[in-house]
């Protein structure tokens, strides 16, 4: 019985792995029109490749004017977050075979930020919120001659939120942020969390006060979109709840 099965596998691997996938891309070029339009690109591609490879294929072989951001292509730099099949993901971490290539794959810019061209958005409001939570170590007193020591447990306390790559997938998946971009957004809160719960840091109180703002953590409605969107698997909603709890318990 084993032989026919092997034969079948061999026959299949000999066949071309390429299939035709339609990329339905949301395009906007202010130098041509004030409207964004969908454009379909049927391409031949191995479904084991990533959405980013598909976008490269389009840009390099079909239409050089397609504009998107990417740098590392390996899920580290956080520059290619986009809305793929209605869900925020990194194009470089999304395999085509995982998102049903039978149907057209929709690719849009992330929502809630000004669209500059095609898939490129203005990230400035996002980084402004990030800067506003003081994402750097603040300490008092003399600098130690060696490193600042920390126990393994103290390091573990904020381990999850150190993984953020600032891709904005979470913030731009949040319905509160879509409607009112003045909300700090999940990413800024995640990066505040990373320092608030760091035993070496001494500005936790200040950061909590910043997030107590009317556009701070209390605007979170626990929809969990951010946790679903995060390509680093950070428990974003949980981090936001921990900041809320810290704000409540430090007073009562």
């Amino acid at each position: 019985m084993a032989t026919p099965v092997l034969d079948k596998v061999e026959a299949e691997s000999a066949a071309s792995p390429y299939i035709t996938v339609t990329f339905r891309v949301r395009r906007f070029n202010p130098e041509v029109s004030e409207h964004a339009v969908w454009e379909d690109f049927p391409i031949e591609i191995d479904p084991k490749e990533r959405v980013l490879d598909g976008l490269h294929k389009i840009k390099w072989d079909l239409d050089g004017s397609l504009t998107f951001r990417r740098s590392c292509a390996h899920g580290i730099c956080g520059s290619d977050a986009m809305r793929i099949n209605g869900k925020n993901r990194l194009a470089c971490k999304t395999l085509i075979k995982d998102i049903n290539p039978e149907k057209p794959i929709t690719v849009e810019p992330i929502k809630g930020l000004t669209v500059l061209k095609d898939l490129v958005v203005d990230m400035e409001p996002f980084f402004q919120a990030y800067r506003d939570v003081m994402p750097f170590l603040v300490t008092k007193g003399n600098e130690p001659t060696r490193e600042r020591l920390q126990s393994a447990e103290d390091r573990e306390r904020f381990d999850d939120t150190t993984k953020c790559i600032l891709c904005a997938a979470c913030t731009s998946s949040c319905p509160v942020f879509w409607n009112d971009g003045q909300y700090f957004g999940p990413a800024a809160i995640v990066n505040a969390h990373r320092f608030i719960f760091d035993s070496r840091d001494e500005a936790g109180e200040q950061r909590l006060e910043i997030l107590n703002d009317k556009d701070g953590v209390w605007r979170c409605r626990t929809t969990f979109n951010c946790t679903d969107a995060c390509p680093r698997g950070i428990e974003v909603t949980k981090a936001i709840q921990e900041v809320k709890r810290a704000l409540i318990t430090r007073r009562f």
Partner: protein, 158 residues
């Protein structure tokens, strides 16, 4: 740009003509964060409002569900509700306090919930101001009127 050549193309397309020197307006987000955005915070008001929503919610589960069962399910359902039924219940201070608590909690809870919704959806500052003004006026009016009725209810009115 020479008017002759561009008009030949422009007339085919509908709407205004855009190019490198005359780009279309960008697709903006409704409200944006800027360097000025974290304005003066209002103390712990937002935290108090958040806590209030949860605490009042827990109490409302008991109050509202109890209210619905008494009014709509027990003793023949809605058909029994009338002036006499209400007068009978409000003869007891227990039901007076129950209804008073339910009135205040539900109104403040609902009003704060709608305040959240206005903050989410109203884009222009003026729209926000007017909607919130209307909301607060309606809330104060309903709470005061309801409280007045519960305290001054006269079962012998003719």
């Amino acid at each position: 740009m020479s008017a002759d050549t561009s008009s030949a193309i422009g007339s085919v397309e509908s709407g205004p003509h855009y190019d490198v020197d005359n780009p279309a307006p960008l697709i903006e987000a409704p409200r944006k964060r800027t360097g000025k955005t974290p304005r003066a915070t209002r103390g712990n008001f937002e935290m108090a409002a958040w806590l209030f929503m949860r605490l009042s919610g827990v109490l409302l589960v008991v109050l509202v569900i109890g209210h619905l069962i008494i009014q709509l399910v027990l003793d023949g359902g809605v058909s029994k509700i009338g002036f006499a039924f209400v007068a009978g219940r409000w003869a007891s201070p227990f039901w007076q306090v129950w209804d008073l608590l339910m009135l205040w909690l539900a109104m403040l809870h609902g009003a704060n919930g709608l305040r959240t919704v206005i903050n989410d959806y109203a884009e222009r500052p003026n729209t926000r101001l007017w909607l919130k003004g209307l909301l607060y006026a309606a809330t104060v009016f309903t709470i005061l009127l309801g409280t007045l009725v519960i305290f001054t209810f006269d079962p012998n009115i003719r």
